[in-house]
Protein backbone atom coordinates (compact mmCIF):
# COMPACT_ATOMS: atom_id res chain seq x y z
CA UNK A 1 0.00 0.00 0.00
CA UNK A 2 1.30 3.44 -0.87
CA UNK A 3 1.12 5.93 1.93
CA UNK A 4 1.33 9.59 1.10
CA UNK A 5 3.13 12.20 3.13
CA UNK A 6 0.08 13.84 4.64
CA UNK A 7 -1.50 10.59 5.75
CA UNK A 8 -3.08 11.37 9.14
CA UNK A 9 -3.57 7.63 9.64
CA UNK A 10 0.17 7.13 9.62
CA UNK A 11 0.72 9.82 12.26
CA UNK A 12 -1.94 8.25 14.49
CA UNK A 13 -0.61 4.73 14.00
CA UNK A 14 2.92 5.83 14.79
CA UNK A 15 1.76 7.67 17.91
CA UNK A 16 -0.05 4.52 19.10
CA UNK A 17 2.98 2.31 18.49
CA UNK A 18 5.32 4.80 20.19
CA UNK A 19 3.12 5.05 23.27
CA UNK A 20 2.85 1.27 23.43
CA UNK A 21 6.62 0.83 23.05
CA UNK A 22 7.27 3.25 25.93
CA UNK A 23 4.76 1.47 28.16
CA UNK A 24 6.45 -1.85 27.46
CA UNK A 25 9.99 -0.49 27.89
CA UNK A 26 9.31 1.44 31.10
CA UNK A 27 7.49 -1.30 32.98
CA UNK A 28 9.23 -4.50 31.82
CA UNK A 29 12.88 -5.22 31.13
CA UNK A 30 13.75 -7.07 27.90
CA UNK A 31 14.11 -10.85 28.49
CA UNK A 32 17.84 -10.84 27.68
CA UNK A 33 18.55 -8.10 30.25
CA UNK A 34 16.45 -9.83 32.89
CA UNK A 35 18.25 -13.12 32.20
CA UNK A 36 21.63 -11.36 32.48
CA UNK A 37 20.64 -9.89 35.85
CA UNK A 38 19.48 -13.28 37.13
CA UNK A 39 22.69 -14.92 35.92
CA UNK A 40 24.78 -12.20 37.56
CA UNK A 41 22.87 -12.57 40.83
CA UNK A 42 23.57 -16.31 40.76
CA UNK A 43 27.33 -16.02 40.18
CA UNK A 44 27.90 -13.05 42.50
CA UNK A 45 29.92 -14.10 45.57
CA UNK A 46 29.90 -10.80 47.50
CA UNK A 47 27.28 -10.93 50.27
CA UNK A 48 26.35 -7.24 50.04
CA UNK A 49 26.16 -7.36 46.24
CA UNK A 50 23.86 -10.39 46.40
CA UNK A 51 21.45 -8.37 48.55
CA UNK A 52 21.52 -5.53 46.03
CA UNK A 53 20.60 -8.04 43.31
CA UNK A 54 17.73 -9.30 45.49
CA UNK A 55 16.36 -5.74 45.72
CA UNK A 56 16.76 -5.17 41.97
CA UNK A 57 14.99 -8.41 41.02
CA UNK A 58 12.17 -7.80 43.51
CA UNK A 59 11.74 -4.27 42.16
CA UNK A 60 11.51 -5.53 38.57
CA UNK A 61 8.88 -8.10 39.54
CA UNK A 62 6.81 -5.50 41.41
CA UNK A 63 6.96 -3.03 38.50
CA UNK A 64 5.68 -5.74 36.13
CA UNK A 65 2.85 -6.72 38.49
CA UNK A 66 1.73 -3.14 39.05
CA UNK A 67 2.35 -1.93 35.50
CA UNK A 68 4.38 1.05 36.76
CA UNK A 69 7.81 2.32 35.67
CA UNK A 70 10.77 0.33 36.98
CA UNK A 71 12.67 3.47 38.04
CA UNK A 72 11.55 7.00 38.84
CA UNK A 73 14.01 8.35 36.28
CA UNK A 74 11.98 7.37 33.24
CA UNK A 75 14.65 8.89 31.01
CA UNK A 76 14.64 11.03 27.90
CA UNK A 77 13.08 9.55 24.75
CA UNK A 78 15.52 8.08 22.23
CA UNK A 79 13.70 6.53 19.27
CA UNK A 80 14.81 4.42 16.30
CA UNK A 81 12.46 4.05 13.34
CA UNK A 82 12.88 1.39 10.71
CA UNK A 83 11.33 2.50 7.45
CA UNK A 84 10.14 0.14 4.69
CA UNK A 85 10.47 1.24 1.03
CA UNK A 86 6.78 2.18 0.67
CA UNK A 87 6.75 4.72 3.51
CA UNK A 88 8.11 8.11 2.47
CA UNK A 89 10.61 9.87 4.70
CA UNK A 90 8.58 12.85 5.88
CA UNK A 91 7.83 15.10 8.82
CA UNK A 92 4.77 12.91 9.52
CA UNK A 93 7.14 10.34 11.02
CA UNK A 94 8.50 12.84 13.53
CA UNK A 95 5.03 14.20 14.30
CA UNK A 96 3.76 10.71 15.06
CA UNK A 97 6.64 9.90 17.40
CA UNK A 98 6.31 13.24 19.22
CA UNK A 99 2.61 12.68 19.76
CA UNK A 100 3.34 9.18 21.06
CA UNK A 101 5.88 10.55 23.55
CA UNK A 102 3.39 13.16 24.80
CA UNK A 103 0.70 10.52 25.28
CA UNK A 104 3.07 8.09 26.99
CA UNK A 105 4.14 10.85 29.38
CA UNK A 106 0.61 11.42 30.60
CA UNK A 107 -0.81 7.90 30.36
CA UNK A 108 1.93 5.72 31.92
CA UNK A 109 2.81 8.30 33.48
CA UNK A 110 6.45 9.25 32.85
CA UNK A 111 8.34 11.91 34.77
CA UNK A 112 8.68 15.01 32.59
CA UNK A 113 12.46 15.19 32.25
CA UNK A 114 13.00 17.33 29.16
CA UNK A 115 14.12 20.93 29.77
CA UNK A 116 15.66 23.81 27.82
CA UNK A 117 19.45 23.36 28.11
CA UNK A 118 20.07 26.96 29.21
CA UNK A 119 16.93 28.26 30.94
CA UNK A 120 16.30 24.73 32.37
CA UNK A 121 12.58 25.29 31.87
CA UNK A 122 10.70 21.99 31.76
CA UNK A 123 8.47 21.46 28.71
CA UNK A 124 6.24 19.19 30.79
CA UNK A 125 5.67 16.53 28.12
CA UNK A 126 9.12 15.06 27.38
CA UNK A 127 9.31 16.71 23.96
CA UNK A 128 11.39 19.76 23.11
CA UNK A 129 13.95 21.12 20.72
CA UNK A 130 15.35 18.03 18.95
CA UNK A 131 13.59 15.80 21.49
CA UNK A 132 12.60 13.04 21.12
CA UNK A 133 15.82 12.07 19.35
CA UNK A 134 14.58 10.18 16.27
CA UNK A 135 16.94 8.05 14.16
CA UNK A 136 15.64 6.59 10.90
CA UNK A 137 17.06 3.46 9.32
CA UNK A 138 15.86 1.45 6.31
CA UNK A 139 14.02 -1.81 7.02
CA UNK A 140 11.39 -4.29 5.84
CA UNK A 141 8.71 -3.22 8.28
CA UNK A 142 7.70 0.03 9.94
CA UNK A 143 8.79 -0.40 13.55
CA UNK A 144 9.35 1.94 16.47
CA UNK A 145 12.15 1.06 18.87
CA UNK A 146 12.44 3.14 22.02
CA UNK A 147 15.34 3.45 24.43
CA UNK A 148 14.38 5.72 27.35
CA UNK A 149 17.73 6.93 28.70
CA UNK A 150 18.28 7.86 32.34
CA UNK A 151 20.63 10.67 33.32
CA UNK A 152 22.69 9.02 36.07
CA UNK A 153 24.37 6.73 33.59
CA UNK A 154 24.30 9.11 30.61
CA UNK A 155 26.18 11.72 32.67
CA UNK A 156 29.23 9.48 33.13
CA UNK A 157 29.42 8.45 29.46
CA UNK A 158 32.59 9.46 27.70
CA UNK A 159 34.26 9.95 24.32
CA UNK A 160 37.96 9.92 23.52
CA UNK A 161 39.82 10.73 20.32
CA UNK A 162 42.55 8.13 20.74
CA UNK A 163 45.65 7.93 18.56
CA UNK A 164 45.93 5.23 15.89
CA UNK A 165 48.81 3.79 17.95
CA UNK A 166 46.47 3.33 20.93
CA UNK A 167 44.36 0.44 19.66
CA UNK A 168 45.57 -1.67 22.56
CA UNK A 169 44.60 1.19 24.90
CA UNK A 170 40.88 0.91 24.11
CA UNK A 171 40.42 -1.54 26.97
CA UNK A 172 42.09 0.88 29.37
CA UNK A 173 39.87 3.73 28.17
CA UNK A 174 36.73 1.64 28.72
CA UNK A 175 37.83 0.48 32.19
CA UNK A 176 38.89 4.01 33.12
CA UNK A 177 35.45 5.30 32.16
CA UNK A 178 33.90 2.93 34.68
CA UNK A 179 36.55 3.74 37.32
CA UNK A 180 35.69 7.44 37.07
CA UNK A 181 31.97 6.60 37.13
CA UNK A 182 32.17 4.38 40.24
CA UNK A 183 28.75 3.71 41.75
CA UNK A 184 27.12 6.80 40.21
CA UNK A 185 25.55 5.16 37.11
CA UNK A 186 23.71 2.54 39.24
CA UNK A 187 25.76 -0.54 38.35
CA UNK A 188 25.62 -3.33 37.31
CA UNK A 189 25.84 -1.48 34.02
CA UNK A 190 25.76 -2.35 30.36
CA UNK A 191 28.39 -0.51 28.34
CA UNK A 192 27.75 0.41 24.70
CA UNK A 193 31.09 1.05 23.01
CA UNK A 194 31.43 2.77 19.64
CA UNK A 195 34.79 2.35 17.97
CA UNK A 196 35.83 4.25 14.83
CA UNK A 197 33.88 6.46 12.47
CA UNK A 198 34.07 10.14 13.32
CA UNK A 199 33.66 12.06 16.58
CA UNK A 200 29.85 12.04 16.31
CA UNK A 201 29.56 8.57 14.75
CA UNK A 202 31.41 6.92 17.64
CA UNK A 203 28.87 8.31 20.11
CA UNK A 204 25.93 7.25 17.93
CA UNK A 205 27.40 3.75 17.58
CA UNK A 206 27.88 3.52 21.35
CA UNK A 207 24.19 4.25 21.90
CA UNK A 208 23.11 1.83 19.13
CA UNK A 209 25.25 -0.83 20.80
CA UNK A 210 22.86 -0.61 23.76
CA UNK A 211 20.15 -2.00 21.48
CA UNK A 212 22.11 -5.22 20.90
CA UNK A 213 21.17 -8.37 22.86
CA UNK A 214 23.30 -8.76 25.98
CA UNK A 215 23.14 -12.55 26.18
CA UNK A 216 25.98 -12.99 23.70
CA UNK A 217 29.39 -11.34 23.63
CA UNK A 218 32.22 -11.99 21.19
CA UNK A 219 35.77 -12.48 22.53
CA UNK A 220 36.63 -8.81 22.22
CA UNK A 221 33.52 -7.74 24.15
CA UNK A 222 34.15 -10.45 26.73
CA UNK A 223 37.69 -9.15 27.36
CA UNK A 224 36.42 -5.58 27.80
CA UNK A 225 33.76 -6.85 30.21
CA UNK A 226 36.32 -8.76 32.26
CA UNK A 227 38.56 -5.67 32.51
CA UNK A 228 35.60 -3.67 33.85
CA UNK A 229 34.53 -6.38 36.29
CA UNK A 230 38.10 -6.69 37.61
CA UNK A 231 37.58 -3.23 39.16
CA UNK A 232 35.24 -4.77 41.75
CA UNK A 233 32.97 -1.74 41.91
CA UNK A 234 29.93 -4.02 42.11
CA UNK A 235 26.22 -3.19 42.29
CA UNK A 236 25.71 0.45 43.41
CA UNK A 237 29.44 0.88 44.07
CA UNK A 238 29.24 -1.19 47.25
CA UNK A 239 31.72 -3.77 45.89
CA UNK A 240 31.19 -7.07 44.11
CA UNK A 241 32.11 -9.36 41.23
CA UNK A 242 29.62 -7.95 38.75
CA UNK A 243 30.10 -4.31 37.74
CA UNK A 244 29.06 -4.80 34.10
CA UNK A 245 26.44 -7.26 32.91
CA UNK A 246 27.78 -6.94 29.37
CA UNK A 247 29.86 -4.78 27.05
CA UNK A 248 28.57 -4.42 23.49
CA UNK A 249 30.66 -2.98 20.67
CA UNK A 250 29.76 -1.42 17.32
CA UNK A 251 32.46 -0.45 14.85
CA UNK A 252 32.81 1.81 11.82
CA UNK A 253 35.74 2.47 9.52
CA UNK A 254 37.66 5.62 10.35
CA UNK A 255 40.37 7.99 9.14
CA UNK A 256 43.85 6.45 9.10
CA UNK A 257 44.97 9.21 11.48
CA UNK A 258 42.25 8.83 14.11
CA UNK A 259 40.63 6.40 16.54
CA UNK A 260 37.42 7.73 18.11
CA UNK A 261 36.14 5.63 21.04
CA UNK A 262 32.86 6.36 22.83
CA UNK A 263 31.47 4.61 25.89
CA UNK A 264 27.76 5.01 26.56
CA UNK A 265 27.00 3.86 30.10
CA UNK A 266 23.61 2.27 30.80
CA UNK A 267 22.30 1.50 34.30
CA UNK A 268 20.91 -1.96 35.16
CA UNK A 269 17.46 -0.75 34.09
CA UNK A 270 18.37 -1.17 30.42
CA UNK A 271 15.00 -0.35 28.96
CA UNK A 272 14.15 -0.87 25.30
CA UNK A 273 11.18 -2.12 23.31
CA UNK A 274 10.14 -2.43 19.66
CA UNK A 275 6.61 -2.25 18.33
CA UNK A 276 5.53 -2.72 14.73
CA UNK A 277 3.29 0.03 13.39
CA UNK A 278 -0.06 -1.34 12.26
CA UNK A 279 -1.08 0.43 9.06
Amino acid sequence: MMVNQADPGLVAALADATEQAFREAETRLPPDVLAALRRAAAVETNRIAKQEFDNILENIALAGERGVPICQDTGVPVVYLSLPPDVPFSSALFEGVREGVRRATSSIPLRPNVVDPITRQNTGDNTGLGMPAVHVVPGDRLTVTVLPKGAGSENVSRIGMLLPSQVSGIQEFVAETMLIAGGRPCPPVILGVGIGGTFDMAAALAKEALLLPVDIMDNYEQELCEAVNALGIGPMGLGGDVTALAVKVKRASCHTASLPVAVNVQCWASRRASVEVIR
Binding site: Q51, Q72, A230, G237
Partner: protein
Amino acid sequence: MNLTTPLGDEVLDLRAGDRVSLSGTIYTARDEAHLRMMDVGIPFDPEGAVVYHCGPVVKDGRLLVAGPTTSARMNALTGFLIDAGVRGLIGKGGMEQEVVGRLRGRGVYLAFTGGCAVLAAARMQVTGVYFEDLGMAEAVWVIEADHLPLTVGIDAHGGDLFAATQEKAKTQFHQRFNIKQDTFS
Protein backbone atom coordinates in the same frame (compact mmCIF):
# COMPACT_ATOMS: atom_id res chain seq x y z
CA MET B 1 19.28 -6.39 62.08
CA ASN B 2 15.95 -4.62 62.62
CA LEU B 3 15.99 -0.89 63.26
CA THR B 4 13.01 1.17 64.37
CA THR B 5 12.80 4.96 64.37
CA PRO B 6 13.58 7.10 66.25
CA LEU B 7 17.11 5.71 66.23
CA GLY B 8 19.26 5.65 69.34
CA ASP B 9 22.68 4.42 70.37
CA GLU B 10 22.06 1.04 68.70
CA VAL B 11 23.27 2.58 65.41
CA LEU B 12 26.73 3.05 66.94
CA ASP B 13 27.18 -0.74 66.88
CA LEU B 14 26.59 -0.98 63.14
CA ARG B 15 29.48 -1.50 60.71
CA ALA B 16 29.73 -0.57 57.03
CA GLY B 17 28.43 -3.54 55.06
CA ASP B 18 25.86 -4.63 57.63
CA ARG B 19 22.39 -5.35 56.35
CA VAL B 20 19.55 -3.64 58.19
CA SER B 21 15.79 -3.60 57.93
CA LEU B 22 14.34 -0.22 58.86
CA SER B 23 10.80 0.47 60.05
CA GLY B 24 9.09 3.57 61.40
CA THR B 25 8.78 7.20 60.45
CA ILE B 26 11.22 8.70 57.93
CA TYR B 27 11.29 12.10 56.20
CA THR B 28 12.12 12.71 52.54
CA ALA B 29 14.33 15.67 51.66
CA ARG B 30 16.16 16.75 48.53
CA ASP B 31 18.11 19.92 47.73
CA GLU B 32 15.28 22.44 48.12
CA ALA B 33 13.96 20.93 51.36
CA HIS B 34 17.44 21.11 52.91
CA LEU B 35 17.75 24.78 51.94
CA ARG B 36 14.30 25.54 53.38
CA MET B 37 15.07 23.74 56.65
CA MET B 38 18.31 25.69 56.99
CA ASP B 39 16.24 28.82 56.55
CA VAL B 40 13.12 28.24 58.67
CA GLY B 41 14.04 25.27 60.85
CA ILE B 42 13.40 21.54 60.84
CA PRO B 43 9.62 20.90 60.84
CA PHE B 44 9.88 17.50 62.58
CA ASP B 45 11.60 16.34 65.79
CA PRO B 46 15.18 15.71 64.59
CA GLU B 47 16.20 13.64 67.65
CA GLY B 48 17.01 10.17 66.27
CA ALA B 49 15.25 10.99 63.02
CA VAL B 50 15.97 9.43 59.61
CA VAL B 51 16.15 11.56 56.45
CA TYR B 52 15.59 9.91 53.05
CA HIS B 53 17.14 11.49 49.94
CA CYS B 54 14.17 10.95 47.69
CA GLY B 55 11.76 12.84 45.47
CA PRO B 56 8.73 10.55 45.29
CA VAL B 57 5.76 10.52 42.95
CA VAL B 58 2.63 10.76 45.10
CA LYS B 59 -0.84 10.46 43.62
CA ASP B 60 -4.01 10.86 45.69
CA GLY B 61 -2.07 10.34 48.90
CA ARG B 62 -0.46 7.14 47.62
CA LEU B 63 3.21 6.62 46.83
CA LEU B 64 3.71 5.39 43.26
CA VAL B 65 7.50 5.45 43.11
CA ALA B 66 9.97 6.47 45.80
CA GLY B 67 13.50 5.45 44.83
CA PRO B 68 16.61 7.06 46.30
CA THR B 69 18.30 10.04 44.66
CA THR B 70 22.04 10.79 44.56
CA SER B 71 23.07 11.76 48.08
CA ALA B 72 26.25 13.59 47.03
CA ARG B 73 24.13 16.59 46.01
CA MET B 74 23.33 17.08 49.69
CA ASN B 75 27.00 16.90 50.81
CA ALA B 76 27.20 20.55 51.78
CA LEU B 77 23.63 20.70 53.12
CA THR B 78 23.68 17.90 55.69
CA GLY B 79 25.79 19.06 58.66
CA PHE B 80 23.00 20.96 60.43
CA LEU B 81 20.73 17.90 60.39
CA ILE B 82 23.31 15.67 62.07
CA ASP B 83 24.10 18.45 64.56
CA ALA B 84 20.38 18.66 65.39
CA GLY B 85 20.21 14.95 66.22
CA VAL B 86 19.41 13.19 62.93
CA ARG B 87 20.96 9.74 63.21
CA GLY B 88 20.18 8.16 59.87
CA LEU B 89 20.51 9.23 56.23
CA ILE B 90 19.15 7.05 53.42
CA GLY B 91 20.20 7.52 49.81
CA LYS B 92 22.35 6.22 47.00
CA GLY B 93 25.99 6.65 46.09
CA GLY B 94 27.38 7.67 49.49
CA MET B 95 28.59 11.05 50.75
CA GLU B 96 31.86 12.95 51.03
CA GLN B 97 34.44 12.76 53.82
CA GLU B 98 33.06 15.82 55.63
CA VAL B 99 29.77 13.98 56.20
CA VAL B 100 31.60 10.76 57.09
CA GLY B 101 33.43 12.71 59.80
CA ARG B 102 30.24 14.35 61.04
CA LEU B 103 28.55 10.94 61.43
CA ARG B 104 31.34 9.68 63.71
CA GLY B 105 29.91 8.69 67.07
CA ARG B 106 26.47 9.93 66.02
CA GLY B 107 24.81 8.17 63.13
CA VAL B 108 24.91 6.14 59.93
CA TYR B 109 24.35 6.45 56.18
CA LEU B 110 22.14 3.70 54.81
CA ALA B 111 22.34 2.77 51.13
CA PHE B 112 19.16 1.88 49.31
CA THR B 113 19.48 0.22 45.89
CA GLY B 114 19.35 2.82 43.10
CA GLY B 115 16.46 2.44 40.69
CA CYS B 116 14.36 0.37 43.11
CA ALA B 117 11.56 2.91 43.12
CA VAL B 118 8.69 0.42 43.15
CA LEU B 119 10.18 -1.75 45.88
CA ALA B 120 10.56 1.37 48.03
CA ALA B 121 6.98 2.46 47.40
CA ALA B 122 5.70 -1.02 48.25
CA ARG B 123 7.22 -0.74 51.73
CA MET B 124 6.05 2.81 52.46
CA GLN B 125 2.95 4.83 53.25
CA VAL B 126 2.58 8.60 53.25
CA THR B 127 1.28 9.99 56.53
CA GLY B 128 1.96 13.70 56.13
CA VAL B 129 3.80 16.43 54.30
CA TYR B 130 5.72 19.66 55.04
CA PHE B 131 6.73 22.38 52.59
CA GLU B 132 4.29 21.17 49.93
CA ASP B 133 4.76 24.49 48.13
CA LEU B 134 8.21 23.26 47.05
CA GLY B 135 6.53 20.82 44.67
CA MET B 136 6.01 17.08 44.83
CA ALA B 137 9.64 16.05 44.36
CA GLU B 138 11.11 18.63 46.75
CA ALA B 139 8.57 18.60 49.60
CA VAL B 140 9.29 16.84 52.91
CA TRP B 141 7.02 13.79 52.94
CA VAL B 142 6.38 12.02 56.22
CA ILE B 143 6.53 8.32 55.49
CA GLU B 144 5.85 5.20 57.51
CA ALA B 145 8.41 2.62 56.38
CA ASP B 146 7.91 -1.12 56.78
CA HIS B 147 11.12 -3.17 56.71
CA LEU B 148 13.14 -1.22 54.18
CA PRO B 149 16.06 -3.42 53.05
CA LEU B 150 19.19 -1.28 53.46
CA THR B 151 22.96 -1.63 53.63
CA VAL B 152 25.10 0.39 56.03
CA GLY B 153 27.25 2.39 53.63
CA ILE B 154 28.91 4.67 56.19
CA ASP B 155 29.09 3.75 59.86
CA ALA B 156 29.63 5.81 63.02
CA HIS B 157 33.31 4.80 63.20
CA GLY B 158 34.49 6.35 59.92
CA GLY B 159 33.91 3.15 57.96
CA ASP B 160 32.91 4.04 54.37
CA LEU B 161 32.11 1.18 52.02
CA PHE B 162 31.89 3.44 48.95
CA ALA B 163 35.32 4.99 49.51
CA ALA B 164 36.88 1.61 50.31
CA THR B 165 35.44 0.06 47.13
CA GLN B 166 36.60 2.98 44.99
CA GLU B 167 40.11 2.81 46.49
CA LYS B 168 40.33 -0.90 45.67
CA ALA B 169 39.09 -0.27 42.12
CA LYS B 170 41.77 2.37 41.63
CA THR B 171 44.53 0.05 42.84
CA GLN B 172 43.25 -2.73 40.61
CA PHE B 173 43.12 -0.41 37.59
CA HIS B 174 46.64 0.91 38.16
CA GLN B 175 48.03 -2.59 38.49
CA ARG B 176 46.27 -3.97 35.45
CA PHE B 177 47.27 -1.16 33.13
CA ASN B 178 50.64 -0.54 34.78
CA ILE B 179 49.91 3.10 35.54
CA LYS B 180 52.52 4.81 37.71
CA GLN B 181 50.93 8.22 38.00
CA ASP B 182 47.49 9.20 39.06
CA THR B 183 45.76 10.90 36.15
CA PHE B 184 42.60 11.90 37.99
CA SER B 185 41.60 12.24 41.60
